[in-house]
């Protein structure tokens, strides 16, 4: 292969207190610029995996992002290179105006207000958000705009890996199309946790499948989706089908 992976996960396990294992021995890698779908039914462990990758949940095993191994004293460095977009964008927009929200990350890093605003504008442009939205309060935005705003907020650090948790929640078909186009224009690697198999197929070339915390498949997405029996066994619906 020759190219060092931008994300490397080895034997990742995690259990919530009082519950059984939420993740068991998960391992995979991603190349720079690659788009990978993380599929699984509700409760399979997709969100748990993402929260472990950013160090909010402390899993056992190894997580390496752009050459930095995740540890207590490297979390800040890892989080600059691996950004997570939550399933609910309202949870990520917490400042009085969009401009301040997008500038929050750079300001927290020590950038001057002018530099932070420049980065905020650049990130907004990257996701196709109009500049006139910047002075507005996040709650005044539509669902699609909020989704893109939350994305812009985490792109200010120019991460090498973007992890997205159920990005198509509450988006209509045009909204999903806009999101797909936005993601395709980003050069960073993307790990997209979703049960929206149709959306995953649109922009991802590879799929990981989680079933009850275990990684049961890591292969080309088209090959996976062509096998109806396996999809049913994994608790997934084929794209365009409402029943498995």
């Amino acid at each position: 292969m020759g190219v060092a992976p931008v994300l490397l996960v080895e034997k990742l396990s995690f259990a919530y207190a009082g519950d059984g294992a939420a993740l068991e021995g998960v391992g995979f890698s991603m190349a720079p610029g690659e788009r990978v779908a993380l599929l699984g039914a509700n409760g399979a462990g997709k969100s748990t995996l993402l929260w472990c990758l950013v160090g909010i949940l402390a899993g056992r095993g190894k997580i390496e992002v752009a050459g930095t191994v995740l540890a207590a004293n490297t979390k800040a460095e890892v989080r600059k290179n691996l950004a997570l977009a939550f399933s609910e964008p309202d949870d990520q927009l917490f400042m009085p105006t969009l401009a301040k929200d997008l500038a929050f990350g750079p300001r927290a890093e020590g950038d001057s207000p002018e530099e932070a605003l420049r980065k905020a504008r650049a990130a907004a442009a990257q996701v196709g958000l109009a500049e006139e939205l910047l002075p507005r309060a996040p709650h005044e935005l539509s669902s699609g705009e909020k989704r893109r705003a939350a994305l812009a907020a985490i792109l200010t650090s120019q991460p090498k890996v973007l992890a997205l948790d159920e990005p198509t929640n509450s988006l209509d078909a045009p909204g999903r199309a806009v999101l797909a186009e936005t993601l395709e224009h980003l050069s960073c690697a993307q790990l997209i946790a979703t049960h929206d198999v149709g959306f995953a197929r649109t922009i991802c070339s590879r799929a990981l499948v989680l079933v009850r915390g275990q990684l049961v498949a890591d292969e080309d997405i088209e090959g996976l989706l062509a096998d109806r029996e396996r999809l049913v066994a994994y608790g997934l619906a084929a794209p365009g089908v409402t029943r498995p």
Partner: protein
Amino acid sequence: MVAEQRERDALSRARELSLAGMLGALGLLLPIGFHALGWGGKIFLPMHLPMVVAGFLVGPATAASLGFLVPLLSSALTGMPPLAPPIAPLMSLELMAKGALASLLYRRLALPMWFVLPVVLIVDWAVLGAAAYAAAGFFGITTGALKYVWAAIALSWPGTVLQLVGVPLGVAAIERRLPRLALARGERR
């Protein structure tokens, strides 16, 4: 270990800010809802309920800041409680004292709810009395300030009952969703 502790502190502070913001928002909205239903604010004390709940869930400094801020914010945004006569400042002092005391007793000293809540309510009356007496002098009122306080306490017995019932329910609802809050009682952050 140092990095881990810093991260824990930052996460704890961020969560506390956000939770306090939500409870403060309830402190703004509940009175509006009660007024809209025609249920008097002075009788049911709707602003007190979320502020006392906050006292049981966040640290003393945050609880005091919240109690201080919410009446003033509400006054600035909706005109109620009024800044003059100084009902909003009096409420600020009351809620600041209530929140800080509840937090100190429940979260820092890990004393039980059935003890802390009545103590907080009684101290609240004492603070209200002292503050009202002091404020009355500014308006040239030398008699009747304590009668006003006694009348306020007597009139607000439904609000006291609401707090005795609602605060344990509210705290339990939140601790059920966030078990880490119950586990952190007795810790000094």
